[in-house]
Amino acid sequence: MSTATTSAPARSASDATVRSWKNPIILSVVALFALLVFAIGAPGNDVTFRLSEENDPIVLPSIVVSAPVIGWVAALAMIALAALAILRTRSGRKIPVWVLAVFAVLFLIAFLTWVVGSARTPNVALYGLLAGSVTLAVPLIFGSLSGVLCERSGVVNIAIEGQLLFGAFAAAVAASLSGSAFVGLLAAAVAGVLVSLVLAVFSIRYVVNQVIVGVVLNVLVSGLTGFLFSAVLSEDSERWNSPPRLPVIEIPLLADIPVIGPILFQQTIVGYLMYIAVAVVYVALYHSRWGLRTRAVGEHPKAADTLGVNVNRMRFMNVLLAGVVAGIGGSFFTLVAVSGFGRDMTAGQGYIALAALIFGRWNPIGAFFAALLFGFATNLSNVLSLLGTPVPDQFLRMLPYVVTVFAVAGLVGRSRAPGASGIPYIKG
C-alpha cells in the first residue's frame, strides 16, 4: 500500500492537488451532516454530564449544557473549519493537523450531546464512560503492542486474535488449577509465546506467507480452545474453569482524584502493566540499541544484515516477545473481565487491535490512543443502549467499526507500514 505514495515524485504538483482534496470533501460532508442532525435536529432539553458520584471523596459539580446551543455552536465551528480546509487546499497548502484534531473533538462533543440529549434520560456519567473505555481498551492495547513489536521487525502479525484467545484460555486453566491468579498471568504469557513460536517458525524458518500463517493460527487456536473447552473444561468446570480474579489495586489518595483517579490508579495488575508496557515499548523502540535494530530489520533488512545484525534472529525474538505481551493481554478476559473461559470469548478483539495498530501508524503511543478510541466507541454504544436512544441498537454497535473505516480510509491518510513488513528475509 505504500507503492502509490512512493511512485510519483516527478508529477508531485498535479498529484498533490488530486490527492489532498479528499480531506476537505470529507470534512465538508461531515460538517453538513452535523448541521442537519446535531444542530437542526437537536433535542430541546438540557444534557447533564456527571463528573462524580455524591459519595465520592471529592465531589465535582455536573456539567449541564443546552443541547441546541452546543449543536449549533459545534456545527457552525465545524463548517468554518471545513471552509478553512477548502481554502488551504485551493491555495495548494497543507491542512494543519490541529484543524483535523479540533474538528474531531467538536464532532465528538456535538455527537455526545445530541445522542445523550435524545435519550430517555439525558444524563450520563462521564467519568464512568471514560473509565469503562480504558477497561475495554486494555486487551486492545496489549494486542496492538504485540502487533507493533512484530511489524516493526518486519513480520505481519494477524495472529493477535489467536494470541489473546490462547492467553485467555491458559490463564483460566492455570489459575483454576493452581488457585492463584498470578500463575494464570504467567501461563497466559507462556501461551502467547507458544502461538508466537508457531508464527515465527512457519513465517521465518519456512518462509510461509505471514498473513496466511496468522489467519490459520487464529482458526487453529479457536478450534483448539473450543475443543478443549467442550471436552475438558465444561466437563468439570469447578476444577478447570473457575479462576480467581485478579484483585483491584487501589493507590491511596491518588485513586480519589475525580475522573482520572479511577482510570489511572484503580486498576488490576494487568491494567498497570498496560501503562508500563506502552511506555517501555515506546522508549525501547525509539531510544535503545535494540529498538534501532528492530526498526532497521523491519525497514531495510539487507542494510541491517550488512551492518552485522542477524535479521531472522532479531525477528524471531521480537515475535516471541510480542507473544508475551499479547498473552498477558489475553489474561484480561478471564482474570479481570469475567471469571472463566468461554468459547471464542475474544470475539474479534485481536482484529480490532490490528486496526488500532494501523490507525496508530505502527507507533506504540499512536496505537494506545487508537485502541482507546475503539474502547470508547464500544463503551459508548453499551452505555447508550442502556440510556434508551432513538438510534437503533444495531447502529450503535456498528459505531466502533464505522469509526475504524473512517479512520483508516479517511482521516489517517496514507499511513506507511514498515518497509519490509510481510516480506521474509532470505540471506544471500
Binding site: 486496526a355 494501523i358 456498528m398 467499526y401 473505516v405
Partner: protein, 468 residues
C-alpha cells in the same frame, strides 16, 4: 523456486522482423509464464500463494519432464496427501488425550499399557469413522438413499464454501487479502432473500433475479472495499474485517424492521422464500442437495476462464504479482482492485444465495454460519487456483457435514474439525516441513544440505522481493 522455472522464458519471436499473429500469441503466452513465475516469487505486499504446478503449466505445453517416481515423490500432491494424514493423526491424538475412557485407563498405564492404547485407538477411530459415515458413505444405512445421503450433504455444505472460496482466491490472485467473505455472503443473502420473499414473480425469472440480486449485493459490499482501497490506500485486511462486523449489524437491523419480518411477528426471522425463488432439488426431494451446486461448478469454470483465458484476468494477476510493474505496463491498478473485489464479492454473494435460497430458505442473522471465514482456509488450501479451491471446498464440506454427524454420534466436539482443517493448511503451506518429517527427497534433484535447499524450494515470496 519450482522445478518448472527451468523453462525458457525468453519470448520466441524467432528473430523475424515481422512477427506473425501466432508468434505474437506465443509471446503473450510467454509473458503469462513469466507472470506466473513472478506471482510466485515477487515480494508483493501480500503475494498470492503459489499456484500448484498443474495449473501453472496449463496451456503452456509439456512441463519439465522428470522420472515418474521422482515427480510423485517431490510433487505437491504427495505433500498435500501427507499433510492431510499428518493433520488427521494430530487431531486423533487430541481426541484420544481428552477422552474419558483413555483418562481412566491411563491411571494404571504402567501395569497395563495396552489398555490405554486400545482406549485411545477406539476413541480416535470411532470419531473418524463417524466423521466418514457422516460425510461420504453411510454403510449402516438400510436403503441406498440413506447410504449416499451423507455424500449429498457434503456437496450441499461444500456449495457455499466453494463459491465464497473462489471469491477469496480471486482476490488473492489480484494481491488482495479478502477476509470479508463473511460480510459479502451476508449482504448477498440479504439482497437475494428480500427479492425472494417480497417480489412474487413467475418461475424461472424469480430465481434468476434472486441469484442476480445476491451477486449484486455481494459485489457492492466487496467493491466498496476495493474502491476505498484504490482511492484512499486503506488496508483491505482492516476494511474487510470491519465490513464484516458492519454487515452483521446491518442484517440484524434489517431483520428488526417489519419489511424483513413475518407478518404479525417481531422475531428476527424473514418469511419463507417463495417456491419460485428457491433452487430446485438436484436429486429429488429426499436429498437436500440443490441446483446451487451446479451453479458453484459453473462459477469455478468461470473463474478458471477469467483468470487464465481473459484479458481482465491477466491484468488482475499482473496487479497481484507486482502493482508497480503493472502500472508501468499500463494496467489500471485502481480499476483492478475495484474489479477484483467486486467479482470476489459477487462470488461470495452466490454463496449467500446458495444458503438463503438453497439450504435455509429463510433469512436469519446466522444465514452465513462461518462460511465466510472457512472460505479463507478453503482458498488457502486450494492455493488460490479455481479447481484447487473447488477440491478444497469439497474436502472442507465433508469435514463440516461429517463433523455434525460425529458430534451427534460420538459426542466429539465439532471444533476438532477446525483444528484438523487449520493444521492441513499450515502443513501444506510449508512443504519442507512435511518433507523433513517424512524424510522425502526435496525437489531439485540434488540434495544440497539442510537449510539452503528447503528455503529455496518453498513456493512463497522469495529473495527477489527481499533483495529489492
Amino acid at each position: 523456486m519450482n522445478p518448472q522455472d527451468d523453462r525458457p522464458v525468453t519470448p520466441a519471436t524467432g528473430g523475424g522482423a515481422h512477427p506473425t499473429r501466432r508468434e505474437a500469441k506465443d509471446a503473450a503466452r510467454q509473458d503469462e509464464i513469466r507472470l506466473e513465475t513472478a506471482a510466485e516469487t515477487a515480494g508483493g505486499e501480500v503475494p498470492p500463494p503459489a499456484v500448484p504446478a498443474t495449473t501453472a503449466g496449463l496451456g503452456v505445453g509439456p512441463g519439465a519432464e522428470a522420472p515418474l517416481m521422482q515427480r510423485i515423490m517431490t510433487g505437491n500432491a504427495l505433500v498435500a496427501f501427507l499433510s492431510v494424514v499428518l493433520s488427521l493423526i494430530l487431531g486423533g491424538l487430541l481426541i484420544a488425550v481428552t477422552d474419558q475412557e483413555v483418562a481412566s485407563a491411563s491411571s494404571y498405564f504402567f501395569s497395563r499399557p495396552q489398555d490405554t492404547i486400545a482406549a485411545a485407538w477406539t476413541a480416535a477411530s470411532s470419531a473418524y469413522i463417524a466423521l466418514f459415515q457422516g460425510s461420504v458413505f453411510n454403510f449402516e444405512g438400510d436403503t441406498f438413499t440413506r447410504m449416499i445421503y451423507p455424500l449429498t450433504q457434503t456437496l450441499t455444505v461444500a456449495t457455499p464454501l466453494i463459491c465464497a472460496g473462489l471469491g477469496v482466491a480471486l482476490a488473492f490472485r489480484a494481491g488482495l487479502f479478502n477476509i470479508g467473505a463473511q460480510g459479502q455472503i451476508l449482504i448477498g443473502a440479504t439482497f437475494a432473500g428480500w427479492v425472494g420473499f417480497t417480489l412474487h414473480l413467475p418461475v424461472g425469472i424469480h430465481l434468476l433475479l434472486v441469484i442476480l440480486a445476491g451477486m449484486v449485493g455481494g459485489a457492492l459490499w466487496g467493491g466498496l472495499v476495493g474502491l476505498l482501497k484504490a482511492r484512499t490506500g486503506a488496508h483491505e485486511v482492516i476494511l474487510t474485517i470491519m465490513f464484516n462486523y458492519i454487515a452483521t449489524n446491518l442484517v440484524l437491523y434489517f431483520l428488526s424492521t417489519p419489511a424483513f419480518q413475518r407478518p404479525g411477528s417481531t422475531n428476527p426471522i424473514s418469511p419463507q422464500l417463495d417456491a419460485t425463488a428457491v433452487y430446485p432439488p438436484l436429486l429429488g426431494a429426499s436429498f437436500r442437495l440443490h441446483w446451487g451446486f451446479v451453479v458453484a461448478v459453473l462459477a469455478t469454470v468461470f473463474v478458471w476462464w477469467l483468470l487464465n483465458r481473459s484479458t481482465v484476468g491477466f491484468e488482475l494477476r499482473a496487479v497481484g504479482a507486482n502493482p508497480s510493474a503493472a502500472r508501468t505496463a499500463g494496467v489500471n491498478v485502481s480499476k483492478g482492485y475495484i474489479l477484483a473485489m467486486a467479482i470476489a464479492g459477487a462470488l461470495a454473494g452466490l454463496a449467500g444465495v446458495a444458503q438463503v435460497s438453497g439450504t435455509e430458505k429463510v433469512l436469519t442473522s446466522g444465514v452465513a454460519a462461518s462460511f465466510g471465514f472457512d472460505a479463507i482456509t478453503v482458498a488457502l488450501l486450494g492455493r488460490s487456483s479455481p479447481w484447487g479451491t473447488f477440491a478444497a471446498g469439497l474436502l472442507f464440506g465433508a469435514f463440516r457435514a461429517g463433523g455434525v454427524a460425529m458430534q451427534a454420534s460420538t459426542g466429539t466436539s465439532i471444533d476438532i474439525v477446525l483444528v484438523v482443517q487449520s493444521l492441513i493448511v499450515l502443513f501444506i503451506a510449508a512443504p519442507p516441513l512435511v518433507r523433513a518429517l517424512f524424510r522425502l527427497p526435496a525437489p531439485g534433484a540434488t540434495r544440497a544440505g539442510k537449510g539452503g535447499s528447503s528455503t529455496s524450494t518453498t513456493p512463497t515470496p522469495a529473495s527477489t522481493g527481499a533483495a529489492a
